[in-house]
């Protein structure tokens, strides 16, 4: 599965950019790749899960003034950008960031927990509705492929814009935001549980020296 995280780095799929000489996270990934086994099993071969993991790792590791949003990627990956925004603008996320900032391993473990939380939310509130929609097939087609290819100049000769794809993104964004509002209490409870989990892990991590 580590190949997928490498793809995320190599294809520059991240929503955040840091200074172009700063490749700390990419270089350090090999030291923490064994933690990827903690991801939900059903999604361990899902490229876009690793892309989210990478974004959250950046969010938890860097200070806010070191991070910039990549404008083009925010358009290519609208769904991920929405999910990231829902979480990172919450007070809870800022709290976790104070525990993990500048700590590579702690930030990665926190990113794993939040990624798993997003997977659980997706399965619980979105997946069944998506299966009934006309976009289901399109979503599954690009499970392990960087969707940036659809915006490539190679295809602009024939078609200016991948219209159905962007409609599918808009559908998923609506579905995510609608469900976030509809299940606000459950969502908050799940976020609180995840924060507690992260805090417990940070506490244990601080206790041991291995």
């Amino acid at each position: 599965m580590n190949e997928l995280m490498e793809t995320v780095f190599e294809q520059q799929m991240g929503l955040y950019i840091v200074h172009n000489t700063d490749v700390r996270l990419h270089q350090s990934f090999a030291d923490y790749r064994h933690y990827c086994m903690l991801l939900r099993r059903s999604e361990q071969d899902h490229l876009h899960v690793y892309a989210l993991l990478n974004d959250l790792w950046h969010f938890f590791y860097y200070a806010q003034d070191e991070l910039f949003l990549e404008p083009n990627n925010s358009l290519y990956y609208t769904v991920r950008a929405t999910v990231l925004k829902i979480f990172t603008t919450s007070d809870s996320a800022a709290k976790v960031q104070t525990w993990t900032q500048g700590k590579m391993e702690e930030a990665f473990l926190a990113a794993i927990d939040v990624t798993n939380m997003c997977i659980d939310l997706y399965k619980q509130f979105i997946y069944s509705e998506l299966c009934q929609s006309s976009y289901y097939s399109l979503v599954t087609q690009f499970r392990s492929i960087d969707t940036k290819i659809l915006f490539s100049d190679r295809f602009k000769v024939y078609i200016e814009h991948p219209r159905e794809f962007t409609e599918m993104q808009a559908y998923l964004v609506k579905l995510a935001t609608r469900n976030a509002m509809k299940h606000e209490d459950e969502l908050q409870s799940l976020i609180n549980d995840t924060i507690q989990r992260i805090q417990n892990m940070q506490y244990v991590k601080a206790k041991i020296s291995y």
Binding site: Q44, Y136, V204
Partner: protein, 429 residues
């Protein structure tokens, strides 16, 4: 109730009363069957299974493992035990030298146990994985360290679990001649274990000391300590530690040029190992459809050889589009049909691989214009034999025609063609 009874067995195990623990587990299994208490039945089978693994009783362990798998398959409310069953399966596969399967099973155990906050199983699975022989020291050490991390997350009795995880790190250091790093951990183990009567962990520490003396060429110390240790290991029926000890003693006598004794212990060691060789253990847990991701990684290596060749090769991707998700078995039947009809065309099919359950990839020789009629014919014939309202989409990317010589790029372009409908684009040209 289950917890208290299981705690009873755990107490017997930690204090070295393994035979009593086995009898107790068997009694609980009978009791659980009589009262139709499924959770008690599952946890008791799991406890007895662990004892069988420790005693290297492979046939009994396999029987109990299959009972556990069957219970999980039939009772979805006990899904939280899936991780521990995978972990046991990983340990059993390790014991029987099915190391690749063991890695996969332990990896599954980690994910499922983490999902259910079962820190002990996460710790155990990481520790057992770190001991697999196919891993290098650099790969194994982070796994063993992670086992310690998760042992600390277990709320109760974590001295025992931390000690077990630490033992794996010490073993790893000694096996790879990092003796200086092992020494401080012995002190930590001493502190953890001195507070308790954990028989197996004490014996494991003593076995590792034997290893330490051998690594330091302190052969007199090995010879002085081993008779008492071997006696204790036999008394408590600790087969795996007994094998380790025999191996160290054999090596010590070899180093001392006492070849007759070395031969004697080599024979004892081989007898011990003979019954463990390559005993295949089938996995009977019902799982989600396989993603074939590992297969895709291997296929990628193979396909890349062709894709980088300027003589010209193409990647051909088929995708089953359906209004509703199809079962894995059904997608495979459709792909078998497709393969049958593709084989009847003049396409040069070089290699193939299924992935993500509803996609199949081929490497072919022909460029797009030459390949198109063959693909269309095979697709049409396949669809005639499928009852469901599906479509078979395809994407074709020829390395020379598309000036694309990497597998990843060809795969991405194939997917883009699935989306953009390559037939329609071809007509535009």
């Amino acid at each position: 109730m289950e917890s208290k009874l299981s705690n009873g067995i755990r107490f017997l195990i930690t204090t070295g009363q393994f035979q009593k623990a086995h009898t107790h587990a068997t009694f609980l299994i009978e009791e659980a069957m009589r009262t139709n208490n499924i959770e008690l039945l599952l946890t008791s089978y799991l406890q007895r299974l662990k004892l069988h693994i420790q005693n290297q009783a492979i046939e009994q362990a396999t029987t109990d493992l299959h009972k556990c798998e069957q219970l999980i398959n039939e009772h979805s409310e006990y899904e939280r035990y899936r991780g521990v069953v995978y972990c046991a399966s990983g340990m059993l596969n390790t014991l029987t030298s099915n190391h690749t399967v063991a890695y996969e099973q332990l990896s599954l155990a980690i994910s499922f146990a983490y999902e259910h906050d079962d820190w002990l199983t996460v710790s155990t699975a990481y520790a057992k994985m770190s001991a697999l022989p196919q891993l290098s020291f650099d790969e194994a050490l982070p796994l063993a360290r992670t086992a310690v991390l998760f042992a600390h997350r277990v709320e109760h009795s974590n001295d025992l679990y931390v000690a077990r995880a630490l033992l794996h790190i010490v073993q790893l250091y000694l096996q790879t001649n990092h003796v200086a790093e092992a020494l401080p951990l012995f002190e930590e183990l001493q502190q953890l274990l001195s507070k308790h009567d954990y028989v197996r962990e004490q014996l494991q520490t003593e076995t590792l000391w034997l290893h330490y003396y051998a690594a330091q060429h302190q052969y007199d110390a090995v010879l002085a300590k081993f008779p008492a240790l071997i006696e204790k290991l036999q008394h408590y029926n600790q087969c795996d530690l007994y094998s380790d000890a025999l191996c160290i003693v054999k090596e010590t006598y070899t180093q001392l040029q006492q070849l007759q004794e070395a031969q004697h212990y080599a024979e004892l060691f081989e007898q011990q190992q003979a019954m463990l060789q390559q005993h295949p253990i089938s996995n009977q847990l019902v799982e989600d459809a396989p993603s074939h991701f590992e297969g895709l990684v291997l296929f990628k290596e193979q396909a890349q050889q062709y894709i980088q060749d300027h003589a010209g090769y193409a990647l051909l991707l088929f995708y089953i589009e359906s209004a509703e998700p199809l079962a894995y078995e059904r997608t495979q039947q459709i792909f078998d049909k497709l393969q049958f009809f593709l084989a009847q065309t003049n396409l040069t099919l070089i290699t193939q691989n299924t992935f993500e359950t509803h996609k199949v990839l081929y490497v072919v020789k022909e460029g797009f214009i030459d390949a198109l009629p063959h693909i269309q014919r095979a697709v049409s014939q396949t669809l005639l034999h499928v009852k469901e309202p599906i479509d078979l989409l395809f994407g074709h990317t020829h390395n020379v025609e598309h000036d694309t010589f990497s597998f990843e790029e060809c795969l991405a372009v194939c997917h883009a063609y699935l989306y953009y409908n390559q037939w329609a684009l071809a007509e535009k040209v």
